[in-house]
Symmetry: C2
Subunit: 247 residues, 2 copies
């Protein structure tokens, strides 16, 4: 089997992909990581459509992005991705991000569970997708990201509340994974975001959110460069946690 164990996609920072600092926005980078992953999974035969036919789907569980430098408007960049390891319930997909000259400017890791769409339960990956272990790349670029500590939010009042709009939901009717990032950034101080890029951003998803439901972002400033974030539903359920560290 001639499987491309490392996927690669090339991008340009379109003007609407940049934030107000004219650099690639963190949310768009998140989208491009998912695009690159989706395109690679397709080639490996484990893409959305192939799994759908078996009543299965990948569930996006965690994402950690660490950037030394964000490309500027109209600059090109590329993303390489590979499956780094697989455990019983989780597939770990890594990424390396390169500037136009081919220099690594950042890294990302992601964790995916495999869901049975009939029972809505997590599947044992080795049983459900026996070939998946062959998709793990034995050789790949470096991805030197340390694990982070869990976000601990002590705030008792939300930074703000909102309801997902039409443009925030995906084909499943769920609040789009990447829009969470936009709302988390919206809870951080504007001047900080303007002056210093986010060096590390980690997000985990625990419960799906739906169109129109009331959601609240809570933020605690763990230390001067570090913000812990939670997205909570009206009944207090934590739907997602995140951590933003500034360089």
């Amino acid at each position: 089997m001639n499987v491309p164990l490392i996927g690669e996609s090339h991008f340009i920072v379109e003007s609407f992909h940049s934030d107000c600092t004219s650099h690639l926005s963190l949310a768009v980078l998140g989208n491009q990581l998912l695009n690159t992953a989706a395109s690679h999974a397709e080639k490996l035969g484990i893409g959305r459509q192939a799994l759908l036919e078996q009543h299965q789907a990948w569930v996006f569980s965690r994402l950690l992005i660490q950037m030394d430098h964000y490309p500027y408007e109209f600059e090109t960049y590329s993303i390489k991705t590979w499956i780094d390891s697989v455990s019983r319930f989780f597939s770990n997909r890594h990424f390396a991000i390169f500037d136009a000259a081919g220099k690594a400017i950042g890294y990302a890791t992601s964790v995916w569970a495999l869901m049975d769409l009939d029972t809505r339960q997590a599947l044992d990956i080795a049983q459900a997708l026996p070939d998946h272990v062959d998709c793990v790349a034995p050789e790949h670029p470096d991805c030197p990201i340390a694990r982070t500590t869990r976000a601990r939010v002590t705030a008792t009042e939300p930074a703000y509340t909102f309801r997902p709009l039409f443009c925030d939901i995906d084909y499943n009717g769920h609040f789009n994974s990447i829009r969470y990032i936009e709302h988390y950034l919206g809870a951080l101080p504007l001047e900080l975001l303007r002056e210093r890029p986010v060096h590390r951003f980690e997000i985990s998803y625990s419960t799906e959110c739906r169109y129109g439901e009331e959601l609240a972002v809570y933020v605690s400033n763990a230390n001067v460069d570090e913000y812990d974030l939670e997205l909570r539903k009206a009944d207090g359920t934590v739907a997602s946690r995140a951590k933003a560290i500034f360089s």
Copy 2:
């Protein structure tokens, strides 16, 4: 002078460019129209950077999009654009949108004013950019869009209120023109948006909005297929008007 009087750009409906119906989202289409316009203006020598050197900028005043069909996820499409006419204070740029087979699937028109960045006043285009008249395309694709009537909003209570977030603002610190569309769509019934595409969408901009300021969307259902919309500031100033017509 060998000026390309008709600009053309090619696109693909990336997965994060589609809405929950898996078709190209209206907001992303708006962004791609602006991208195509920016790229063409650049070639004509009247792009953002060239004008900035003269302390001038194009101000986006109106946009009307009329679509017969929206491309599906991963389909390709292209946009042609040209300057259709120019009056004393306004440059009228038109667009035609084509599917992968080259069939026209929609059209758009836009109106731009030229601003003096020192005085913040509109400039007489013929005086400020004497060559601009040579940029008007004598021959171009059809753009059969009828003018619409002005949106008339009678609602006295807002459909919802929000504050622009970090991800909603552009390099000027202003609320991004295209994010208005996302918020207008957010005020329309979800079931309608899921079942019937927006056939025509018209938006006009009158006052700039800033990060964090309270904005409210007002909506009136002029008739069963037509929604009139307004974006108002806390003091009641109308910042923008829009009209959405469903097919």
